[in-house]
C-alpha cells in the first residue's frame, strides 16, 4: 500500500509535464491582470439576433482556440504513435470544409438533414485523406513529416478545385449556430464542440486500450508487435482520428463566417498544433503522452495571441513576439533544463537531509 504522501508524490511525478503549460498560462493571466484588471471580466450581452451571449477576452480565448485545441488533440495521438507530426492539418481542414460547403450548396435550401449529410461527407473525406497519410507512414514507413508534406503541398489546390476557385458563401441560421451561438445558449458553440471532442477522447481512453497501445507502439514498435499490438493499425488509427479532428475544425471554420476561403482557412495552424503538443510537455519523438497537456498548450498559444492583440502589437510583429515566448517555453521544458532543475532539487534536499543528520548527531 502506498502512503498518502507517496500517492501525492506519484501524482506530481505523473503530471510533472503539465507544469510548463500551467506556469505559462498562470504567468499570462497574472501579466494581464496587472496590465488591465478587467481583462478577464465576462459579461452577458445581447447579439444582433437578440440572443444572450457571453462576451469578454476569456470567452474570446476559449472560443478562438477551439479549432487549434481539437487539432492538437489529434496531433497528440499521431505524435505518440508515429513519433512524428502531420504538417497537413490546416490544408486537410480546408479540403474538409470545402467538401462540407459543396454538399450544402448542392441542395436548394440548407436543411438540418443536409447539414448532417454535409458533415458526414466532410468527416469521411477527411478520414480518407487521413488514412492516405497514415498508410504512407505505417505501411510504407515514410517519415510523417515527408508523407504529410504531399497533402501540405496540394491540399489547398484540392480545396480550390472543389470550390471551383471561388469563395462560396453559405448563409443559414444553422451554419451560423455552428460557428457562433445556438439561440438561447450564451456559450459559443465551438467551445461546446471542444467539450464534446474532449469527452469523446476521454471515454475512448477510459474504456479502450487505444491510448496505451498507441503509447506502446510509439515507445518500441517491435516490442509492441511481439505483444500482439499492430503497429500499422495503431498508426493508421491515429491518422484517421486526426482526419476526424480536421473535419470538425473545418466545419467550425466554415461556421464562423459562413463562407469558405480555402486560401486562408486555418492557414499555418499546423505549426501551432505541433507547438501545442510540445508546450504540453509531450515528447515529439513519440511514446508517452498526455492529451490534456496539448490542450493546455493550445489555450496558452491563443491566450498569448489575444494578449498581444490587446496590447495593440501589430499583427505582423505578433509572430516575432510569440517566437520569443515560445523559445522560453520550449527551453524551459527541454530535457537539459529539466535535468538541471532536478539536480538543483536533489542538492537542496540532500543538504536538508545532511543538516538534519548533523542535528541528530549533535
Amino acid at each position: 500500500m502506498k502512503t498518502k504522501t507517496e500517492q501525492r508524490r506519484s501524482f506530481f511525478q505523473n503530471n510533472a509535464q503539465l507544469l510548463v503549460p500551467l506556469i505559462a498560462l498562470g504567468l499570462l493571466i497574472i501579466f494581464n491582470l496587472i496590465r488591465d484588471p478587467g481583462f478577464f471580466s465576462v459579461e452577458l450581452a445581447t447579439n444582433n439576433d437578440g440572443n444572450p451571449v457571453l462576451q469578454g477576452n476569456l470567452i474570446s480565448i476559449l472560443n478562438g482556440a477551439s479549432e487549434l485545441v481539437i487539432l492538437a488533440m489529434g496531433m497528440t495521438l499521431v505524435t505518440a504513435a508515429a513519433g512524428g507530426q502531420d504538417i497537413s492539418v490546416g490544408c486537410l481542414a480546408a479540403v474538409a470544409g470545402s467538401a462540407f460547403v459543396k454538399v450544402l450548396k448542392s441542395g436548394a435550401a440548407i436543411t438540418p438533414w443536409l447539414v448532417l449529410a454535409g458533415f458526414l461527407v466532410c468527416c469521411v473525406t477527411a478520414m480518407i485523406f487521413g488514412a492516405f497519410n497514415g498508410t504512407l507512414v505505417s505501411v510504407f514507413r515514410i517519415q510523417p513529416m515527408i508523407a504529410t508534406l504531399i497533402l501540405f503541398t496540394c491540399g489547398r489546390s484540392i480545396a480550390y478545385w472543389i470550390n471551383g476557385g471561388a469563395t462560396p458563401i453559405v448563409e443559414s441560421p444553422i451554419i451560423k449556430a455552428i460557428g457562433g451561438f445556438i439561440p438561447g445558449v450564451p456559450i459559443p458553440t465551438p467551445i461546446l464542440i471542444v467539450c464534446v471532442m474532449g469527452i469523446f477522447f476521454a471515454l475512448v481512453f477510459r474504456f479502450t486500450t487505444m491510448g496505451l497501445f498507441m503509447q506502446t507502439v510509439g515507445i518500441n514498435q517491435n516490442a509492441a508487435r511481439l505483444n500482439g499490438i499492430s503497429a500499422v493499425g495503431m498508426k493508421l488509427l491515429a491518422f484517421v482520428l486526426l482526419g476526424l479532428c480536421c473535419a470538425v475544425s473545418g466545419v467550425i471554420g466554415v461556421g464562423r463566417l459562413q463562407l469558405i476561403n480555402h486560401e486562408t482557412l486555418l492557414l499555418n495552424v499546423e505549426m501551432d498544433a505541433i507547438l501545442a503538443v510540445a508546450i504540453g510537455g509531450n515528447s515529439l519523438g513519440g511514446g508517452k503522452f498526455k492529451m490534456i497537456g496539448s490542450v493546455l498548450g493550445a489555450y496558452t498559444i491563443q491566450a498569448l495571441t489575444i494578449t498581444l492583440y490587446a496590447m495593440k502589437v501589430s499583427s505582423t510583429d505578433v509572430k516575432a513576439y510569440k517566437a520569443v515566448v515560445i523559445i522560453l517555453l520550449v527551453v524551459l521544458g527541454s530535457p537539459v533544463v529539466k535535468a538541471w532543475f532536478g539536480s538543483v532539487k536533489n542538492k537542496l534536499t540532500a543538504r536538508g537531509v545532511s543538516a538534519a543528520a548533523g542535528k541528530e548527531a549533535a
Partner: protein
C-alpha cells in the same frame, strides 16, 4: 497598251485585296490569367470575351495561365499567327522585353491591361490599369462626406506590401496623420476573414469606442461585421458603426442593399471597352489620346453608397455569383 492594262489590272487587284483585308475581322490575341483565379478575374475574362467577339468585328484568340513562361510562349505564338493586336495581363512584371520587341518588329500593336509590365514604354501602345491609390482616396473622401462628429476607425489591412494594400492604406494614413480621424487600431489580417473578426473582437473586449470599420476587402469586412453582430453592436445605414469594404463582390453589394454595410469600393475589371475604342481609333487612322506620362489610362472606378445602390448596379458591377 498592254503594259497599261497590266498595271491597271494589278492596281485593281491590290485595291481589291486591300478592301478584303479592311473588311475582314480584326485579329487580336489575348493573354490573361485564368478565370478561376478570383471573382475579379472571372469578370475580367468575361468582359473581354463579350467585347472582343465576332459580332463586334473581332477574331480573338485567348490564352489563360497563371505562369509567366506559359504566357510568354503563348504571346510568341500569337505573333507568329499574325495577330494585329496583342492584349496582355502579365502574370509577372518582368521577362517580357524580347517578346514585346518581336511584336513591334512584326508590326503587332500591344496593349497592356490590369497589370503593368516593367519595360520600355515604347514597346507598347497603351496600358489600361487601376490606380489603387485612387480607390483609397475615393473611399476616404466618401467617408469624410458623411460629416460624422468624430471618426474612430478600425483599419483592417490586406497582405502587407501588396498593391491593393498600399493604395487603400495610403489615403487613410494621411487622414490619421492630419488628425482628422483617430486610429483605434490598424492591423493586417492578410485578406483573412477569420483574422479580421479576431481583431475587431479584441477591440470590442477592450471596451474602446469606435464608429468606422475600414476593411481593405469584402471578406475582411464580413469578418469584422460578424464580430459586431456577436457583440450586439449595430452597423450599416442606420447603425452605430460605418462599414466599408472593397472589391464589389455581388454578395457584398447585396449586404449594402440590405443596409448592413455602408460603402463598397470598386476595383474595376472592365477594361475591354476602353481597349476596344482605342483599337477602333487606330483602325480609323486616328491617334490615341488621354494617356498619362507612363502611357497609362486609369480605369474609372466607382464607390458605392448603400443609400444609392440599385439592383441594376449589382448586376452591372458585381463580381462573382
Amino acid at each position: 497598251m498592254k503594259k497599261f492594262a497590266a498595271l491597271f489590272l494589278s492596281l485593281v487587284l491590290i485595291l481589291c485585296s486591300a478592301a478584303v483585308v479592311a473588311e475582314g475581322p480584326i485579329k487580336v490575341g489575348i493573354v490573361n490569367n485564368p478565370p478561376s483565379e478570383s471573382g475579379y478575374r472571372e469578370a475580367n475574362v468575361k468582359d473581354f470575351e463579350t467585347v472582343f467577339s465576332a459580332e463586334n468585328g473581332y477574331e480573338a484568340k485567348t490564352f489563360y495561365s497563371i505562369k509567366n513562361d506559359e504566357q510568354l510562349s503563348a504571346a510568341r505564338q500569337f505573333i507568329t499567327d499574325g495577330v494585329d493586336y496583342l492584349l496582355i495581363s502579365a502574370a509577372e512584371t518582368t521577362g517580357w522585353d524580347s517578346v514585346l520587341a518581336d511584336a513591334k518588329e512584326q508590326g503587332v500593336t500591344v496593349f497592356l491591361f490590369d497589370r503593368m509590365i516593367d519595360c520600355d514604354p515604347d514597346l507598347f501602345e497603351a496600358a489600361v490599369v487601376s490606380n489603387m491609390a485612387d480607390e483609397g482616396a475615393t473611399a476616404v473622401n466618401w467617408l469624410l462626406s458623411l460629416n460624422l462628429p468624430e471618426y474612430k476607425v478600425i483599419h483592417i489591412q490586406g497582405a502587407m506590401g501588396s498593391d491593393a494594400q498600399l493604395g487603400r492604406t495610403g489615403a487613410l494614413d494621411a487622414q490619421f496623420e492630419a488628425g482628422a480621424m483617430t486610429k483605434v487600431v490598424q492591423q493586417t489580417a492578410t485578406w483573412d476573414e477569420a483574422e479580421a473578426k479576431k481583431i475587431v473582437e479584441t477591440v470590442i473586449n477592450s471596451g474602446e469606442d469606435f464608429n468606422v470599420i475600414y476593411a481593405e476587402n469584402d471578406g475582411m469586412a464580413k469578418g469584422a461585421v460578424a464580430a459586431l453582430d456577436e457583440a450586439g453592436i449595430t452597423h450599416g445605414v442606420n447603425g452605430k458603426v460605418v462599414v466599408m469594404g472593397f472589391d464589389c463582390n455581388k454578395w457584398a453589394l447585396r449586404e449594402l442593399l440590405a443596409g448592413n454595410w455602408n460603402y463598397d469600393g470598386q476595383c474595376s475589371p472592365f477594361q475591354a471597352k476602353v481597349i476596344d475604342s482605342m483599337i477602333k481609333t487606330l483602325e480609323a487612322g486616328g491617334a490615341i489620346e488621354g494617356l498619362n506620362e507612363k502611357k497609362q489610362i486609369i480605369s474609372v472606378e466607382k464607390g458605392f453608397d448603400a443609400r444609392e445602390l440599385t439592383e441594376e448596379d449589382i448586376a452591372t458591377y458585381g463580381l462573382g455569383e
